[in-house]
């Protein structure tokens, strides 16, 4: 029997969740949003999702093979990056744009740093921002939703945030009428990136992540909360120029960002306290960029900037260690 005895030191039992289960859990949580994307944007959405996912997995495998490392695509992290990338692309992104995004995400912003766990920036967001800067035309060619089987042809339009920004830039105030109301925004009946349209589907996925304890409440609550507060202050000061907080919440990439992008474990702070600081930073930057920046949307930039601040936040938000709290005997 001695040949079969394991001698590892304690502990001898372990929790159930492994890395691949966590990744798979996040993918499950994204399925409602993927479903809504395909429903509103049809076949092109499906093609983009598939291309991005297989692209990311393919690039990861190729990279690891080239570097003579074990291929770890089974951990699901590349597939997850692919889905997140697709959800950050416009519905009719050309195929080469999607594949280029996959390359940037996996090769440039993940594998070069040493692979999973070592990348300082969220790979899907790096890809989105690189594409946005390099190919502004293709990255901002939005189409109005054309629900599956509705027979409607996809027509070009602007995102709600884009409409608001343009109007404010041209006339100094918000447009008098917007396409769509809050109900449409909630369900996802508006123009935007694949994963940005339905707040409801994203919230459903976010709830699943919380219940499965894959994420904690800190980042989403701090992010959304600080956005609402800051946007609310501006709105109260001048409601004709600054959109109301609900509009901020339901349009653009905020939900996707706060629930799925900012909560990426690798690139966010490790303690609850740090995550609150980080979430508030994301919220403030998002509102400032949306209201005063050159781009209508600020979520990606805000999260990437806070990714950069993560090591610093981690350093200053360490837990109070046991035995350093003054208690009276």
């Amino acid at each position: 029997m001695s040949s079969q005895l394991y001698l590892s030191s304690s502990p001898h039992v372990y929790a159930g969740d492994r890395t691949e289960q966590i990744m798979r859990g996040v993918i499950y949580a994204l399925l409602p949003a993927c479903g809504v994307a395909v429903y509103f944007f049809g076949l092109p959405a499906l093609v983009t999702l598939a291309l991005a996912t297989f692209g990311c997995v393919g690039f990861e495998a190729a990279c690891q093979k080239a570097m003579k490392q074990p291929v770890t695509v089974k951990d699901g992290s590349a597939a997850l990056t692919g889905i997140l990338l697709a959800l950050n692309l416009p519905p009719n992104a050309p195929w080469w744009l999607t594949l280029l995004g996959a390359f940037v995400a996996i090769v440039i912003s993940k594998q070069i740093y040493g692979g999973l766990g070592y990348n300082p920036f969220n790979p899907a967001l790096v890809a989105r921002v690189v594409l946005l800067i390099s190919f502004p035309v293709q990255m901002t060619r939005w189409t109005a939703p054309a629900p599956l089987f509705s027979g409607i042809d996809a027509v070009s339009t602007a995102t709600p945030l884009g409409q608001a920004k343009e109007s404010v830039m041209l006339t100094g105030s918000l447009p008098s009428s917007m396409q769509g109301g809050m109900g449409d925004f909630l369900l996802g009946n508006m123009a935007g990136c694949l994963g940005e349209v339905s707040a409801l589907a994203l919230l459903l996925g976010g709830a699943y992540l919380l219940v499965r304890r894959i994420i904690t409440w800190h980042i989403p609550v701090a992010y959304l909360g600080s956005t609402v507060v800051l946007a609310g202050i501006f709105w109260l000061v001048d409601g004709s120029r600054y959109p109301d907080p609900l509009f901020h919440l339901l349009t653009g990439g905020l939900m996707l960002g706060a629930l799925f992008m900012a909560t990426d474990m690798v690139t966010s702070p490790i303690t609850g306290r740090g995550q609150i600081v980080y979430g508030i930073g994301c919220g403030i930057l998002t509102v400032l960029i949306r209201l005063f920046g050159g781009y209508p949307e600020g979520v990606s930039f805000a999260i990437l900037l806070m990714n950069a601040a993560t090591p610093l936040i981690d350093r200053y938000t360490q837990p109070t260690k046991f035995g350093y709290v003054e208690t009276k005997a």
Binding site: S9, P11, H12, V13, T216, M265, G323, T327, A329
Partner: protein, 443 residues
């Protein structure tokens, strides 16, 4: 259920491993029969090992001194039955190597040494009580095996106002303390009275996890008109760790690097308490204890009263033998116990349990990179950053590991338990602690 499960006291951090106590929780304590040979190690406690005072060929009685204490932080060792000393030599020890032991061939009489005499605690002074505890070789029986008399000798400048009895038993699988609280409450209360007299404390609490409602009920009833509080605690690992238990019950945090006496507290395990009662009232040295023999790898899990020195193989035989091929033999519980090379090592005064795992319970877990998921940080009861310290430890950056408070780690294993990337965190931190101590010694 009479125990209110809400708002129970506890500590921050920790986790909820499946407790798996159902296998043995309802099994009354059985006396383990006499093995053919008892191997009694001279090192069974923290501190200096005892020195053998018998030679091969000598006849000894049960309870007779076979090893004398070497210094203050040390305890004497006694024969756990009557018979012939057949050898005094190094034998395989649960710590992993061969260490000096007194080997006894039982004569079957199991006759106590004549003249062992109990005393009435009421008529003995605190110093006399403490001497009896020391001479009986009593150590912390929750597994820490720290000499009990040392804890009961606080220096003048550290007044003790609170005594805490540890009946938490937060390690999964183990039920020895649980059975003891159900079956020998009078001995526990007797031990408490002795400890109260030695320490002169104002407050005495028995901490019990809420998953043992029968023990809570029984001890609450038994202490109704005594100055003793039974405190039900939240079920959470490591609730029974000394500092976490003190925090939960008193709200006091033992300072980093300090001892319970720094916050005016002494903690003793309930098993230690019964041993103290036996030592003082009945004059019996510590030669036996209760241990849980359990796990998926034994046929019939049991709680046994075992003689110190009984081989693990013999204990397993008393439980119907092995079920399947054993893949891991663990002395103690699954969170902090020690894996053994074989069943041919003796149970000691610190053996609270013997856990047998088969290959299904020993999953193959390839290590991955740290995801920074924060689970180890949230679970850490010392509130340090396990992943950061482990990363430094792997790079042999001892000073950095120390700066991140590696020395505050209590080695509870929560970090490794919770890590989805299967990183051996506590293992790495243990290594760093060793390196830090070695460095300090070099000065």
């Amino acid at each position: 259920m009479s125990v209110a499960m809400k708002n129970l006291k506890t500590f921050p951090g920790g986790l909820h491993p499946p407790d798996n106590k159902q296998w043995s929780a309802d099994k009354p304590i059985e006396d383990c029969p006499m093995p053919d040979e008892l191997v009694i190690p001279l090192a069974q406690h923290i501190g200096a090992p005892a020195e053998a005072c018998v030679e091969a060929g000598e006849l000894v009685k049960k309870g007779q001194l076979v090893g004398t204490a070497k210094g203050f932080v040390s305890v004497p060792i006694h024969a756990s039955t009557s018979g012939e000393v057949v050898a005094v030599e190094p034998r395989p020890h649960p710590m992993g190597k061969a260490l000096p032991a007194v080997v006894i061939k039982p004569d079957g009489e199991d006759a106590w040494l004549p003249g062992l005499q109990g005393g009435d605690p009421a008529s003995l002074s605190p110093v006399e009580l403490r001497d009896r505890i020391r001479d009986a070789g009593i150590v912390g029986m929750g597994g820490a095996t720290f000499p009990a008399h040392v804890k009961l000798s606080p220096p003048e400048d550290k007044p003790i106002d609170t005594l805490i009895l540890n009946g938490v038993e937060c390690e999964p699988y183990l039920t020895a303390d649980h059975r003891l609280m159900l079956e020998r409450p009078e001995a526990i209360l007797g031990g408490i009275a002795i400890l109260q007299k030695i320490l002169g404390v104002k407050r005495t609490c028995i901490g019990i996890e809420a998953n043992k409602p029968d023990a809570i009920e029984q001890l609450t009833a038994a202490t109704s008109d005594l100055p003793i509080e039974v405190v039900p605690l939240q079920v959470k690992y490591p609730q029974g760790a000394e500092k976490q238990l003190i925090l939960a019950i008193t709200g006091r945090e033992v300072p980093s690097g300090g001892l319970p006496m720094d916050v005016g507290v002494v903690v003793q395990n309930v098993g230690t308490c019964t041993a103290i009662d036996d030592a003082v009232r009945r004059g019996l040295p510590l030669v036996e204890r209760i241990a849980t023999i359990t796990g998926p790898g034994v046929v019939e899990p049991k709680n046994l009263r075992i003689r110190v020195g009984t081989s693990l193989q013999y204990l397993v035989d008393q439980c119907g033998g092995l079920k399947g091929e054993p893949a891991k033999i663990i002395m103690g519980g699954p969170m902090m116990g020690m894996a053994q090379l074989s069943l041919d090592v003796p149970a000691t005064r610190g053996t609270s349990g013997l856990l047998l795992f088969t290959s299904e319970n020993v999953p193959v877990r390839p290590e991955g990179p740290c995801l920074r998921c924060g689970r180890c940080v949230r679970a850490c009861p010392a509130r340090i950053l396990p992943t950061t310290i482990a990363a430094y430890a792997r790079l042999d950056l001892t000073d950095e590991a120390e700066a991140y408070h590696a020395m505050d780690c209590i080695e509870c294993g929560c970090c490794t338990y919770s890590c989805p990337a299967a990183l051996p965190l506590v293992q790495a931190i243990r290594g760093a602690k060793g390196a830090i101590l070695a460095k300090r010694r070099k000065g």
